[in-house]
Amino acid sequence: MSTATAEPTSVSSQFLANIIGKPVNVKLHSGMLYSGKLESIDGFMNVTLSSTTEHYENNDNGLLHKYTSDVFLRGTQVLYISEV
């Protein structure tokens, strides 16, 4: 399948099928970085993470927050989702 002619969600779904359940970094436009286990995602890049930690820009920067419950991140605010 050519990636160029793929429908909008297919690049993401092909990628995301592989990384669900794995640890990821998600950065928002604000620069906030969320690291956790990817529980689910949709075509809007809405994301839910578990065991999430919050840092600014880089995991080496100080831990800002630790979320014990699942976290939902709104797709419009997501800059990227990256495997760790």
Binding site: T9, F15, N18, N58, L79, S82, E83
Partner: protein, 87 residues
């Protein structure tokens, strides 16, 4: 007006797949890495990405990513096939 579309813009990106790419956002953030794929929104998947914040004088490496990254096309301004030569 008819367009004699010898090469469509997205074909240029398509030819960049499996090659280094340099991606510039609306903000002062840039990414370099190997282009894996993209979609019609120009959401992009890059491999082993380096994330930069660019100031007038220098580029600051924010993070090195191992593996694949799905980068939202929402804020992408420019893709440069071949990558960023001066780093």
């Amino acid at each position: 007006m008819s367009l004699p579309a010898d090469i469509l813009p997205l074909e240029v990106i398509d030819k960049t797949i499996d090659q280094p790419v340099w991606i510039i956002l609306q903000s002062n953030r840039e990414f370099t890495g190997k282009l894996v794929g993209f979609d019609d929104f120009v959401n992009v998947i890059i491999e082993d990405a380096k994330e930069w914040i660019v100031n007038e004088e220098h580029s600051e490496l924010v993070m090195e990513h191992n593996g694949r990254m799905l980068l939202s096309g929402n804020n992408i301004v420019m893709l440069v096939p071949g990558g960023k030569k001066d780093v």
